[in-house]
């Protein structure tokens, strides 16, 4: 699945992803405000399959899973970043959102067409010369993501 790149800087925090003000409501209302502090029209502009590319420490802050859930609700294909905050990374795996570490994001441009390959760990860009090889995710984590998150993964395993 391909989409467009939404480029962000360092330290994108969980209050931007899931603003506290909307935490008492459902995910639909919350997702409508996802990332609006940085990019006011994000939730309107983003389309299924679009990819977030960001700098260091993506998801810093709270342990709220809604930070991941909002991106899933908006059908973001995944997040590619120079690094992730620890709790966010674990939450993303547990809810089934692909999160991949890039050694550099220099070739990625905002609005550029791209597609994210989880199994081969590549971010394909419109200019093939700039394709970004990503750090492969450990196989067991990939399996959890491909199952749609930890709960689905456990159900599948328990059913066998």
């Amino acid at each position: 699945m391909s989409g467009r790149i939404f480029l962000f800087g360092d330290d994108i925090d969980t209050d931007q992803l899931a603003p506290g003000q909307y935490m008492r409501g459902g995910i639909e209302a919350l997702a409508a405000h996802c990332l609006e502090a940085t990019r006011p029209a994000f939730s309107v502009d983003v389309q299924p399959g679009d990819i977030i590319v960001a700098g260091r420490n993506f998801g810093t802050g709270s342990s709220r899973e809604q930070a991941v859930e909002a991106l899933l609700y908006l059908q973001v294909a995944g997040v590619v970043a120079l690094s992730f905050a620890g709790i966010f990374y674990r939450n993303a795996v547990n809810l089934g959102l692909p999160v991949l570490i890039a050694p550099s994001i220099d070739g990625a441009k905002d609005g550029d067409k791209a597609s994210l390959q989880l199994t081969s760990s590549v971010l394909n860009l419109s200019d093939k010369n700039n394709d970004i090889a990503l750090e492969p995710m450990p196989k067991n984590l990939q399996e959890i993501i491909e199952s749609g998150g930890l709960v689905q993964y456990l159900k599948k395993r328990l059913a066998v």
Partner: protein, 420 residues
Amino acid sequence: MQQTLAQKIIARAAGLKYVTPGEVVTANVDLAMIHDSGGPRRVAPILRDLGVGLWNKDKVFLVSDHFVPGDTEEASAILALTRDWARETGVRFLDGQGICHVVLPESGQLQPGMFAVGGDSHSPTGGAMGAFMFGIGATEMAGVLATGEIWVKVPETILIEWTGRLCDGLMAKDIMLALCGKLGMDGGKYQAVEYTGDAIKSLSMQERMTLANMTAELGGQTGLIAPDGVTTDFLRSVGGDIPNISGLYSDTQAPVLEHYLFDATSLAPQVAAPHSPANAMPASDAENTSIDVAYVGACTGAKYEDLKAAARILKGRRVSDGVELLVAPSSKRDQDRAAEDGIMAIFEAAGAKVLPNACGICAGYGTQRLAADVTCISSTARNFKGRMGDVTSQVWLGSPLTVAAAAVVGHIIDPREMLL
């Protein structure tokens, strides 16, 4: 084999003699803390879906704090759900007593050497007690509640040593803001951060909690302070069991990832500019910044000792015209103590408005939030854009002393100029 405190605690919890950094182990959880936001409303549906109950209700602590006082229909519905679940499951429940990271240690149940998880990013606060405690999301928490286990990649230890002694007018918050400035919000690399040195050892338990708490802002998985006499004295004071703390320290030759050395004696009061704790600078460098709201609140900024510190500045003074001073004591116990000691009376005489014992404006979940274009100085942990209010609001962080001083003069100032 020489091991760090983090390794020792994980090895014990995993039933192993020793563990190596980088190794992934499954460990038994000694205590799991959840609150009204990430707790029952999120974990109960998962447990129902999986068709399982709690592994041990006596090891689960539930606290209501994020949606207290329930000032909207939705918030009060979440609190009702939380209370119902507490009744159904029989877990330990601290309802409306204050913020989880403060009321858990106050219960005396969090013990040195424990391997504990919390459904909140500031869970490293437990490291002040010498417990390996870290924050997790609701799905992982559901797994812990069902099985009593969690996997953990054994962290490296980043040793942060502060020598010397803090000068009068300086607090743990100043140390932490300085660290955020020096190391950045990912300086902790999701590893174990251990605080050591004479300046740390001489901190009281509540000051240690401030430090360990904000390991979250440093990006560490957990923040540890080796237990000592301060720890056992604190546990005695809250009526907890007095643990055997022998062996609960990092061996002197245990390899660490990084070892930072800082001098506390030369540290000046710090503030962090909007919108990151890493924007730290000496308060004197921001002295022209005028403020509209001063907030003494949150787990990391309104405990008894934080209130006492702010009252040192506020005593016999009034809040500056046009400035609103808000105080949300971290726990009912701390507020009661502060009332007995005349501290709350000082706040009231200065013109402060007292808010409920809850996460309040720091979490930004309620109706009380900062209005557009307001500049606030706050003793809380995070000043992310839009967290405490409108996206145009500007939040500076500082110690309770620095917040109180700014409230009195109407602008940021080095609080040492106002100590009596």
